[in-house]
């Protein structure tokens, strides 16, 4: 684990609101006891149904950043969705809004989900459709997202931002530190201590 202060690379524009986690990773690929190979099934049904799907466009292979619209990742809490995107090569997502659970799952995997206003997202997506080779730079500390001459203000929840830059985005070891404090809290709860 290391601190994450910036993500830089080419980016894939994926238009559409309410792209739910069933579409990102159809349920049949959850029938496994590992996350191995999920990168092969990202948006599988959408891609089969639409030859022009951006994930079918080889121009965008190797993209590190995904640019999406509203309520991305809504629906099922399946971590298989962000796991698939991460394993495909995505390291950060920029969108108008995200489902709470998807955004939290992504954060724990070290994949920040930046929000930005509608006009900024539209400008980014239009630029990436016209000039797919544009390198996008997303700063975790300031939230500033730069794509060529385009500069966009992105946002991360403060706690998540600080966790990334201070190398604390994977919380388990933090949760286990000073474990007596957990036991102390538990002992004050009547249903744990006994009514």
């Amino acid at each position: 684990m290391a601190s994450i202060t910036a993500i830089s690379g080419r980016a894939l524009p994926l238009r559409g609101n309410e792209l739910d986690t069933d579409r990102i990773m159809p349920a049949r690929f959850l029938k496994a006891v590992t996350f191995d190979g999920l990168e092969h099934h990202v948006f599988e049904d959408d891609r089969k149904g639409n030859p022009n799907h951006p994930f079918n466009n080889a121009t965008y292979n190797g993209s590190a950043i995904l640019v999406v619209n509203e309520n991305f990742g809504c629906g099922s809490s399946r971590e298989h969705a962000p796991q698939g995107l991460l394993r495909w090569g995505i390291k950060a997502i920029v969108g108008e809004s995200f489902s709470e659970i998807f955004r939290g799952n992504s954060a724990v995997l070290g994949m920040p989900c930046f929000t930005a206003d509608k006009a900024s997202i539209e400008a980014l997506q239009a630029l990436l459709e016209k000039a797919p080779d544009t390198v996008v730079d997303a700063r975790v500390d300031t939230g500033v997202i730069t794509a060529g001459s385009l500069k966009v203000q992105g946002n991360l929840p403060a706690g998540v931002r600080d966790a990334f830059v201070t190398d604390k985005w994977n919380p388990t070891s933090m949760l286990l530190a000073d474990y007596d404090t957990v036991r102390a809290t538990a002992s004050t709860l009547p249903y744990v201590a006994g009514f």
């Binding site: 049904d45 971590e79 706690g159 538990a186």
Partner: protein, 463 residues
């Protein structure tokens, strides 16, 4: 003054983490076979233990076949996932409510069995690797879905790194009209507030309509909070909550019961609690509601016409702007799921089905939410009513809600479904189409062979 959300959050807040997030103690952790195997692998790899194994309970629901729970399952991957859960629970001392062909145990959909056994109680924080964990809020708990890495965190530390939610109070007032159910209430709320209207919020449901609802009905409402973007939804605990819990297997007994009720009562939102937002809905305006699109906010009253410019949804579903959903021929009818697979749902649908028959072209399934519901329903003779009417009576599981088992749509079949999601491909076929509605509306559609206004058929009965 504080809301229930704030009181419960504060009681479970361990400390502020170096990241600024809150470390929140998790009072009840529920586990199923799909989102947990990788979490157990991670704790094994790191050599972490499970400090509170008695606060985690597991079951098998998503992949379990509903035609027979005989082991080994014919599907080798389903069998492998079940075996992995059995091994993991055994290693860490976690109680597993396992499938079994005799249906004599407590296996069932995780959000059905938690309340049913009294594991779910007011004032708890509840987490599960499943978005519909919001269901448990119906008993006055703060309950939310988590991902697999967070399942790992709860196993290893019985806690999570979280940011608090804002609270939106949603009052529903008045009497629901005949043929209108809890499902119609939540579909209407989601339609009004949008599928992302709840992002950043917990929804607190109240008002006379919610007060008058049974706990089962409140569970239907809280279950779909997440479809409106709210990670958690809850109803303040009241006499109905206590009456529901009393005597259940894991509920406090004897003197402890009275102390528990006193604590639970103290947790309800104060009368002068302040909310981040407040919405009021008049129950009299709610119609039997049906989705026509590809997200749960895309719904209309059954007598209403679709009004949209969403070409993607219309094309996928085969509807046109201005069309009514009523009259749409269906292929499959599904009564079940963590939204509407409880005993009262089945009983209400059975009342309607009695003396009628499923249309010849419709495949109709009734899937109880748990083995206990199967047993109780059979004791009431509901299975006979359904099978006599041409429904298939199945064993407990998630079934066709998400089709990770043999129950699936084929091709672009249209399903009338009492479940919670109408996403593209949700019911197992990449081109399958889902119309969400109440269980009684599903029964009416099964019988008519097409989506129909249940109120017209209710009148037939009374005439």
């Amino acid at each position: 003054m504080p809301t229930l959300f704030e009181k419960v959050w504060n009681a479970h807040a361990v400390r502020t983490l170096p990241s600024g997030q809150t470390q929140l103690f998790v009072g009840l952790h529920l586990v199923h076979e799909v989102t947990s195997p990788q979490a157990f692998d991670m704790i094994r790899q790191h050599g972490w233990g499970v400090p509170y194994p008695q606060r985690t309970f597991a079951t098998v629901d998503h992949i379990v076949p509903t035609s027979s729970q005989k082991r080994p399952f014919l599907d080798v991957i389903a069998e492998e996932m079940t075996t992995a859960l059995e091994r993991n629970c055994q290693q860490y001392g976690i109680r597993l409510f396992a499938p079994g062909d005799d249906l004599a145990g407590n296996q069932g959909i995780v959000h059905v069995i938690g309340p049913e056994m009294g594991l779910t109680q007011p004032g708890m924080t509840i987490a599960c690797g499943d978005s519909h964990t919001s269901t448990h809020g119906a008993l006055g708990a703060i309950a939310f879905g988590i991902g697999t890495s967070q399942v790992r965190d709860v196993l290893a530390s019985q806690s999570l790194a979280m940011d608090p939610l804002k609270v939106r109070r949603i009052d529903v007032n008045g009497t629901l009209k005949p043929g209108v159910y809890a499902k119609d209430v939540i579909l209407t709320i989601i339609r009004r507030l949008g599928v992302n209207g709840g992002v950043g919020y917990a929804y607190e449901y109240g008002g006379t309509t919610i007060d008058n609802m049974s706990i089962d009905e409140r569970m239907t409402v809280c279950n779909m909070s997440v479809e409106g973007g709210a990670r958690a939804g809850y109803v303040n605990p009241d006499e109905k909550t206590f009456a529901y819990l009393k005597g259940r297997q894991y509920a406090p007994q004897g003197d402890a019961w009275d102390r528990a009720v006193a604590w639970w009562t103290s947790l309800a939102s104060d009368a002068d609690a302040t909310y981040d937002d407040h919405v009021v809905i008049d129950a009299a305006t709610i119609e039997p509601t049906v989705t026509w699109g590809i997200n749960p906010a895309q719904s209309v009253g059954v007598s209403e016409a679709i009004a949209t410019k969403d070409e993607e949804a219309l094309t996928y579903m085969g509807f046109a702007d201005g069309q009514k959903v009523a009259g749409t021929r269906i292929d499959v009818a599904f009564i079940g799921s963590c939204t509407n697979g409880r005993l009262s749902d089945l009983a209400e649908a059975a009342k309607f089905v009695q003396g009628r028959h499923v249309a010849s072209h419709v495949k109709a399934l009734v899937v109880p939410g748990s083995q206990e519901i199967s047993r109780k329903a059979e004791a009431m003779g509901l299975d006979k009513i359904f099978t006599a009417a041409g429904f298939e009576w199945r064993g407990a599981g998630c079934s066709m809600c998400l089709a990770m088992n043999p129950d699936k749509l084929v091709g672009n079949q249209i399903s009338a479904s009492s479940s919670n999601r109408n996403f593209k491909g949700r019911q197992g076929s990449p081109t399958g189409r889902t119309l969400l509605m109440s269980p009684v509306m599903v029964a009416a559609a099964a019988i008519a062979g097409e989506v129909t206004d249940v109120r017209e058929m209710l009148e037939e009965v009374h005439a």
